[in-house]
Symmetry: C2
Subunit: 426 residues, 2 copies
């Protein structure tokens, strides 16, 4: 008998999964190893930036008042009493008509309130002493980078959960973080099921295909910030599958299986969930591809049963597994970023269920445009290679035309989104 | 005396650098390690996908001609003569009014030309034999994924130089690439110069700042696909700097220095280039920030002299170093992607030189909008953490208003671009 399954709306399915989200622990890594990780703590300024008034240019530090009457016709001469490079501090306090030769980044000497760029001066010597002259007036504060003008002491610079970019690394270095507290990567176990699966290095034989989903998920997990743990490929044997899943669940943070979740006679996952005493959150979602996506929970640990079809598997990962990984990593924007785009091609099929069509968005003449890629069959592997977005066509709609506004989810983007986007889906 | 330098247009500066671009060698890595690397060879389909006609559903494989008169009023019965799972091949050739129970992914048995989904059938037994009945007609080819419908034998699936995404990994697995030929990462040496620089783990002292550029470049290099090699931090000592640069050049593919390229008394890089007998491609670029960016070449090897100011350093890397890294990695889109965006805030300063303003683009209501971030001073570190784009304001323009179309370069994007974008700059 075919089991009757009631499809759950995408939004509700995601919400059920999110109820079991957990936050990961933190670990210290070297600054150089922190690129692409997620901050475990807020980064707070423990000193102002700049830490002192400093010169943004090579030139001379002066008292602006001494330039008051300077002009092209009346150049004014200053005695140069010291020379300081970046990293040095002048011991002098300058007086009337005196100047200090100063390099980019050096601290403004005591008594000075402006910097004159080298190019605007003329240097000369007189009676064995150094002088410079200039031909225009300057105001108090001219060409000075003031202490704290960039960042004040105590500011939150970056919030925990942020994806560590090169710009954030520069900040971490500036504030002395030789070690950085990042969230430990969650370990994602991956098990592929199906007697039709060959290893990647096996030659093709009739009726069989190579296991591509495990490797694809491995890379999706890395992109999401997780550490994939490949646990092997299983033939359709209930006992072996059950044992493998049971053992795996104990050793990873989350477990993904691919295949075996449908209603076929060799789809053993439903029976495995039963034997594990798992709480099946749902086993059918009102979406294409990926309607058989199943998520279950055992003692608070999530078990994702993704479809064996590559595209359905891909979508299932991005919609359900990615937000769990990103929440683990403390991200407040755990979901794929949703943006509005303009459809570049007709998509006239009706959508009884919400459809996630592989597509490509491009930014053209100030607009976000999207077009579907290739065939939209769930077993089409090649179109996954080109896709950078899912075009979302909500259930109950009757097809879309060129020029229509549509929602798309960005696949390659690290920015992410809060969960607002699902509001528009059925 | 202050050396007079003639600023070179950004486009010409980049073109001069590209003349010295080289392509890297390839190396074999395990499929799981290939995510984020760049393909060294084209990937060609050595078999069609699907490799055989197969069923995309659980159901029954039949001869469509036998369903010709089936209807709700006249159900038609089929004898089920075999059952095959994915990975198995039926040994039978079916005859009139016969069917084979077939699982998702299994090969279509000989003689069958359509698949009926399980949900549309009723199964029963009669005289110890299995039967199923159905109530509608099917056409030849219904519910069959045909051999080669996704990809034909010999197709180029992905071109060399492609960034290996999870979708491409799925393809590589499907086609049996247990090992993947990727381009060796170029080794990018990084030397920071400046007596004002403290190590990240040193406490702040008057006049000094922590070395942030090395770590920032380290991460930028990783993002670009290179392997950074940090070679230390040097005080402003000509002899030591010269020795360090000379040795470094021999051990890396490209060398980056930060600081020391300006016209200050302690800016030793110009003298070092002289002693090395380097061919200085340019030492001033008509852009802000980063006007002092210098690139030199010694025996065909490039030496990038980036500014010591964090923002100028950041821009210099993305404009000049990134395309050299990406070209090394065989990418045909070695440059940052340029897109047109709509300015969200006035930027009224005139632009004597082409300006690269740190900004944030967002995709809002189908449009690409951009706004500058914070102050636009070249020493502002914190705004780098939030920037995801450079807003490009060409030299000679008089400021821009909200709603104006502007060019932006995407920093976080892996897609890249050919060199078309610079055409619009002065």
């Amino acid at each position: 008998m075919v089991e009757k399954r009631k499809p759950l709306a995408v939004k509700e399915a995601i919400e059920r999964v999110l109820k079991y989200s957990v936050h990961g622990e933190s670990e210290q890594v070297d600054l150089q190893q922190s690129y692409g990780r997620f901050l475990a703590v807020d980064i707070i300024a423990d000193h102002p930036v700049p830490p002192f008034d400093r010169s943004p240019y090579d030139g001379f530090a002066i008292r602006s008042i001494d330039t008051k009457y300077a002009s092209t016709d009346h150049p004014v001469d200053f005695e140069v009493i010291d020379e300081i490079g970046a990293g040095s501090v002048s011991e002098f306090t300058i007086g009337e008509m005196q100047a200090v030769r100063i390099m980019t980044g050096a601290q403004i000497p005591s008594g000075c309130d402006a910097v004159v760029m080298l190019e605007l001066t003329k240097v000369f010597q007189k009676a064995g002493r150094d002088y410079m002259s200039l031909k225009r007036s300057f105001n108090k504060g001219d060409n000075i980078s003031f202490k704290g003008e960039d960042t004040q002491y105590g500011n939150i610079l970056v919030k925990k959960g942020a994806y560590i970019s090169p710009g954030i690394i520069a900040l971490l270095a500036t504030f002395g973080y030789a070690k950085v507290a990042v969230v430990k990567k969650p370990q994602i176990g991956i098990i592929a099921t199906g007697s039709e699966l060959l290893d990647v290095d096996e030659p093709l034989v009739p009726g069989k295909i190579r296991n591509s989903n495990s490797y694809m998920i491995d890379a999706q997990a890395r992109r999401s910030g997780a550490e994939p743990v490949y646990l092997g490929k299983l033939v359709d044997d209930l006992k072996k599958c059950y044992e493998a899943v049971k053992v795996a669940l104990e050793n990873v943070d989350f477990l993904i299986t691919t295949g075996g979740v449908s209603v076929g006679d060799f789809d053993y996952l439903p029976e495995i969930y039963k034997r594990l005493g798992a709480n099946v959150l749902f086993n059918k979602v009102a979406m294409r591809p990926g309607s058989v996506t199943t998520v279950a929970e055992v003692n608070g640990k999530l078990l994702f049963g993704l479809s064996g079809n590559p595209s359905a598997c891909f979508v299932g990962f991005e919609l359900f597994v990615r937000p769990i990984i990103r929440t683990f990593l403390n991200s407040e924007r755990a979901h794929l970023q949703r943006v509005t785009a303009i459809l570049e091609e007709d998509f006239l099929k009706p959508n009884p269920f919400t459809r996630f069509v592989r597509g490509r968005i491009s930014l053209t003449a100030g607009k976000v445009v999207a077009s579907p890629i290739g065939l939209d069959k769930s077993n089409v592997v090649t179109s996954l290679a080109d896709a950078n977005a899912f075009i979302v066509l909500p259930g109950g709609t009757r097809g879309y035309k060129t020029g229509d506004n549509i929602d798309v989810l960005l696949i390659d983007d690290q920015t992410g989104s809060e969960f607002s986007w699902a509001e528009s889906f059925k």
